[in-house]
């Protein structure tokens, strides 16, 4: 499923990387500890977090994530947004909790069953 379909299904507001929404979302990772995300997320993941500072852009870029969803109505800090625009990393925001966003996306893409079937 591409990122654009997830944006539509969850009614996410896109703050950067509008031209990268056709990317395929292969899985996801939810977390606010950056080393946890660095160590355990995968290429092609959508990253769900409530960290808003600019280091999230470096993590998403180094790990080749398709984008970052900020939850609970969090908005990216100004320098975060600038960096994300420069590096072409989609940042999206949702008023829902990390639990809800994760569950909804999981149901849409079902990463594990799709792989094992």
């Amino acid at each position: 499923m591409d990122l654009e379909s997830i944006v539509k299904a969850l009614n996410l507001k896109v703050r950067s990387g509008e031209d990268k929404l056709k990317e395929e979302v292969r899985g996801g990772y939810t977390g606010d500890l950056l080393s946890d995300v660095m160590g355990n997320s995968k290429e092609g993941d959508i990253w769900i977090t409530r960290q808003v500072h600019q280091n999230i852009v470096a993590v998403a870029s180094l790990k080749d994530h398709v984008g970052i969803i900020l939850v609970q109505g969090c908005e990216p800090a100004n320098d975060t947004l600038e960096k994300a625009i420069k590096e072409g990393i989609p940042i999206m925001v949702s008023d829902l909790s990390a639990f809800q966003v994760t569950g909804l996306i999981y149901n849409l893409i079902k990463p594990l069953p799709a792989e094992s079937s």
Binding site: M38, T49, N55, D79
Partner: protein
């Protein structure tokens, strides 16, 4: 290493500057990608470089990160001037951290950085001298075969 490196470059990292954290790792990733290395090994190298960079920014005064690419391996060294690590065994334990509240607020300092470096490197060495600094050497094999093959 006797082989002439395919790439050899050093990058300065300044302690305390969280705003630019990740810049050196992004540069390293771009260089390795351009050299045509597989995205798997490029991501591993980017990860160990990033965790080293975050450690430097969090604890050291300044450091050099040196990247060398030789046939079969990527070698990354992080040489810092800083407080050093009194007990390396303890520092290597998952979850152990001496990070300040400020560092933790940003989602760093979870005591996972060195563990990540170790698990994503094929060879990892760490030495440290209290009051002087810490030296990390990380080697990532670029050929898919195992070390013994």
């Amino acid at each position: 290493m006797d082989e002439k490196p395919l790439y050899d470059g050093s990058f300065a990292v300044v302690g305390g500057s969280f705003d630019n954290a990740g810049q050196v790792s992004s540069g390293i990733k771009a260089i390795l990608k351009k050299m045509g290395l597989s995205s798997d090994v490029v991501r591993k190298a980017a990860l160990v470089a990033y965790e080293s960079e975050i450690n430097i920014v969090s604890y050291a005064r300044k450091a050099m990160i040196r990247l060398r690419v030789v046939p079969g391996s990527i070698i990354i060294e992080a040489i810092d001037e800083g407080p050093g690590i009194p007990d390396i065994e303890l520092a290597m334990q998952p979850g152990y951290s001496t990070a300040s509240p400020r560092i933790r607020e940003m989602g760093f300092g979870a005591g996972m950085g060195l563990c990540n470096i170790k698990s994503f490197s094929d060879i990892f060495q760490i030495t440290s001298e209290v009051g002087r600094g810490t030296y990390l050497k990380m080697i990532i094999k670029t050929n898919s075969g195992s070390l013994n093959s």
